[in-house]
Symmetry: C3
Subunit: 158 residues, 3 copies
């Protein structure tokens, strides 16, 4: 069972690739938030607002918490956290169950594509139910892997 | 040390089972949020509100951010993220330290049960300090595992 | 490749140590939030507010969502979640790529120190760009590890 966590195992290599892609995508949300905060001068902390030069005679910038662009990115980011991190955690356990390769790789790819499309749907934004369907595809992948993991773990205890 | 990440290792099997249970529980919070949003027509995005048909002559739905039911589920979900994900991450490192089986399995089960009870306390809701005690039990498990992990990692460097 | 996840591998031992430190730091944010909520009597749930005794004749405490101290800790906590969890996830995949030891250990230490300084900058608070630089250092480490992981995973598929 030890050879499962090796790049010679195509299931592991596929899992690592898809996980890295969705984690990088999630990290980019931080940079996108920072970009919106800087260009729109929307800061959540006084010391952040104070770091931006203002025209002479103008009031200092105040913290703002309800800018629509920033909040949209932040909701998207939180949704990634709620879905991408469980995928990577459950996926690593799922790899340990030695799943059928093509089924496992199919799971990973569906998740990766669905989360990339989810972000596109969220940020453009595209009318519903497009984003909702992408979200559900990702949740479905996670539940499917979790059931397989639970089954194997219970069986091991017998 | 390689046999540690194997379902033949009862510590690993127990960790995987408990982790899968709490991760599934966390994923269910997404579905519970979606359920409250749909039934109460509380949406955070304009395109989500636009997807719900309204009676002729009525105004279109507007985004709402302060519905009590939705916010309660979301606080619960965020609390899961703050506690369940560190548990799974620290737990996988803890399994690598080859802990005494019954102590390790006790850690995992206490965490799993405390987080299931935490959600019940949060969603019913049950008066404090019930939820607080469940929360503290989970935090205590994480700190206990973390100390063991730190100790082993420092020893390995010697 | 199997010996990579062993405390005999100095890269793994360093990764485990740094991960445990930043995860413990993240868990402490929960306790810091609880401390601010109790001492300042700022609660997000009615049942939490009801658990605090009030002077006879006073009104019962109401949920409060905009206390500056609590929200500052919570933003810090969320920033940890957005950065520390991806570090641990990507780091464990990065260890599997069998990186050059001193480069890998340098990555882990830079991340650990940058996140400890980030929290200090956030909670004192220290004027910008100190916190921003700490944040960027952590993000840079994660991207650097992610690129290495992607490269290895793609190569494995060939």
């Amino acid at each position: 069972m030890e050879g499962l966590l090796s790049f010679k195992n195509e299931v592991f290599a596929s899992f690592v690739f898809c996980s890295a892609v969705v984690l990088i995508k999630t990290l980019f949300m931080s940079l996108l938030t920072a970009y919106h905060r800087m260009t729109k001068k929307v800061f959540a902390n006084e010391e952040d607002a104070a770091s931006v030069p203002v025209a002479a005679g103008s009031d200092k910038l105040k913290p703002i918490f309800n800018n629509a662009s920033v909040e949209r990115v932040r909701r998207n980011h939180l949704n990634d956290i709620e879905n991408v991190f469980p995928f990577v955690l459950l996926g690593s356990l799922y790899v340990m169950t030695d799943p059928t390769p093509w089924i496992a790789i199919f799971h990973f790819r569906v998740f990766m594509v669905s989360r990339l499309l989810h972000t596109i749907c969220y940020q453009i934004p595209i009318p519903q139910p497009s984003r909702g369907l992408c979200f559900m595809a990702g949740v479905f992948v996670c539940f499917s892997m979790a059931i397989q993991v639970l089954h194997t773990a219970r069986h091991a205890a017998d």
